[in-house]
C-alpha cells in the first residue's frame, strides 16, 4: 500500500488549520446577529456541511455514470466514498438545522422543501448501502449501485421541485414564510465573508476526506485480492 503522498499529508494539515480558522471566524470575527444571537452562528456550519453534502451528491452521480460507461472498478470506489461522505455531512446539516429551528420557529422539524428533500436523500443513501450489502459479486454490486445512484440523482431534484410546488400552492404557516428561512436575515459583509470562508474551508475538508476514503476503498480491495490469492 502506497503511503500517503506528500500532497495528502499537507492537505491533512491544511484542512485542520482551515477548520480552526473557520471556527475562529465564526466565533470571533462574525458579529452577533440582532435577534438570534449565538444561535445564528450554527447557520454557518449548517450551510457549510450542506454544501459538502451537495458536493458529495454530485460526485456520486458523476462517478456512477462514469462506472456504467467505463466499467472501471475505481469509479465504484469513488462513488461509495462520495455517498458515505454526503450521507454524514447532510446528517450534520440536518441536525444543525434542527438546532437552529427550535429557538427560531419553535419546532425541531418543519416540512420545508430543502429539509424534507435532504431527509429523503438520506433515505436514498441508506437504501443504497442496503443494496450494496445484499450483493456479493463485485461487478454486479458496482453495476446496481451505479444504476441506483443514477435513479436517485435524477429523482432528488424532481422531488425538491415537487415539494416546492406543494408548498407554494399551499403555504404553511410555520417555516417558509418566516424571515429566517435560508438565512434571509440581513447579512452584513462580515457575515458574508465568514460564510464564504466556511464554505471554502469545508470544501477543502471534503476533498481531504474524500481522498482518504478512496484510499481506504482501494486498500480494502487489495485486501480482498490478497485473500483470494491465498485461497488459490
Amino acid at each position: 500500500m502506497k503511503p500517503q503522498p506528500m500532497v495528502l499529508k499537507v492537505l491533512n494539515v491544511v484542512s485542520v488549520l482551515l477548520f480552526l480558522a473557520a471556527l475562529g471566524m465564526v466565533f470571533l470575527y462574525a458579529p452577533l446577529e440582532a435577534t438570534m444571537n449565538y444561535v445564528q452562528k450554527i447557520f454557518y456550519f449548517h450551510i457549510a456541511t450542506a454544501w459538502v453534502g451537495m458536493l458529495g451528491f454530485i460526485a456520486a452521480a458523476v462517478a456512477g455514470v462514469l462506472y456504467l460507461i467505463k466499467h472501471d472498478q475505481k469509479w465504484d470506489i469513488v462513488e461509495l466514498a462520495a455517498v458515505e461522505i454526503s450521507l454524514v455531512f447532510f446528517l450534520i446539516a440536518i441536525a444543525a438545522g434542527s438546532i437552529w429551528a427550535r429557538p427560531t420557529w419553535g419546532a425541531y422539524w418543519t416540512w420545508e422543501p430543502r429539509l424534507t428533500t435532504a431527509a429523503i436523500l438520506e433515505m436514498i443513501y441508506i437504501a443504497y448501502l442496503l443494496l450494496r450489502q445484499g450483493i456479493d459479486d463485485p461487478d454486479r454490486r458496482a453495476r446496481f449501485s451505479a444504476v441506483y445512484t443514477l435513479v436517485g440523482a435524477i429523482s432528488v431534484p424532481i422531488t425538491f421541485m415537487s415539494i416546492r410546488l406543494f408548498r407554494t400552492i399551499h403555504p404553511v404557516v410555520i417555516g417558509t414564510n418566516s424571515a429566517a428561512s435560508q438565512g434571509s436575515f440581513d447579512m452584513t459583509s462580515k457575515m458574508l465573508a465568514t460564510m464564504f470562508f466556511a464554505l471554502f474551508a469545508f470544501s477543502v475538508i471534503f476533498v481531504n476526506l474524500f481522498w482518504h476514503r478512496i484510499r481506504l476503498g482501494q486498500l480494502a480491495q487489495q485486501v480482498e485480492q490478497l485473500k483470494l490469492e491465498e485461497l488459490q
Binding site: 472498478q73 459479486d137 463485485p138 461487478d139 480491495q221 480482498e224 485480492q225 483470494l228 488459490q232
Partner: protein, 232 residues
Amino acid sequence: MIAVKKLVKRFGLKTVLRGLDFEVQEGEFVALLGPNGAGKTTFLRILASLSRPTLGEVRVAGFRLPIQAAAVRRNLGVVSHLPLLYGDLTAEENLRFFGRIYSVLELSQRIDEVLELVGLNSRRRDLVRTFSRGMQQRLAIGRAILHDPEVLLFDEPHTGLDQDACDMLDRLLREVAGQGRTVVMTSHDLARVEDLASRFDVLSRGVISASASRNDLGKNNLLDFYRQALSG
C-alpha cells in the same frame, strides 16, 4: 462451429477461467467434464451469451460474442438444470410463448412436431406445474430446439432425474443430436455421457486439461482418462 481462444473470466478479483482454448466442429457431441466449481457452468453461460468474457475470443456459429450476441442466440438452444419454463402455463402455451419471442415461423405446426418428438403430445394442455421433473426436462429440450438451432448447450441435464427418466432423456438427446446439431454437454455422470458423446473434454483449474475422442478412448476407459486428467 465453436471456437474459443484464451478465454479469461473474472468475477471481481476471482479468476475462474484462465486462458481457456476450446474448439468444436459441426456435428460433434462434446461432453465437458470436471469437478464441482471448476467453471463448467460459467463457461457454458459464456457460450450461451448469458455472461461476458473478461478477455479472449469466443465465436459460436460463426458469430463473435459478446458483440454479435443476438445473432448467436438465434442459433442457440440451451437446457440448464433449472427448467426455464413457466409453471402456470400449459406445455403448449410455454412453447407458443418461446416460439413467439424467437420469431418461429408456422408456429402451430412446429409446436405439434416438437411435442411429438419429446413425447408430450398427450399432456400438451396440462400445466407445467403438474409435470414431473423428467417431463419438464423433456419439454425444456423441446423449447430448446423449437427454433431449430445449430448449436445445443446442456448444463447437467440429468440432475434430479430417476433412472427411467434418464433413459428417456438419453433417447431424446441422441435423437436431437442426431439431426446434425453441434452439442456441448456438461455432466457429472460419466457413465451416462460415455454412450452419448463423441468427444470428452475435461475442465480443470480454469482450462481444458485434457481432450479425447471416443475412438481414442475405447470402451470403459473414460474413468481412468478423467482421473488422470484431474491429477495431471
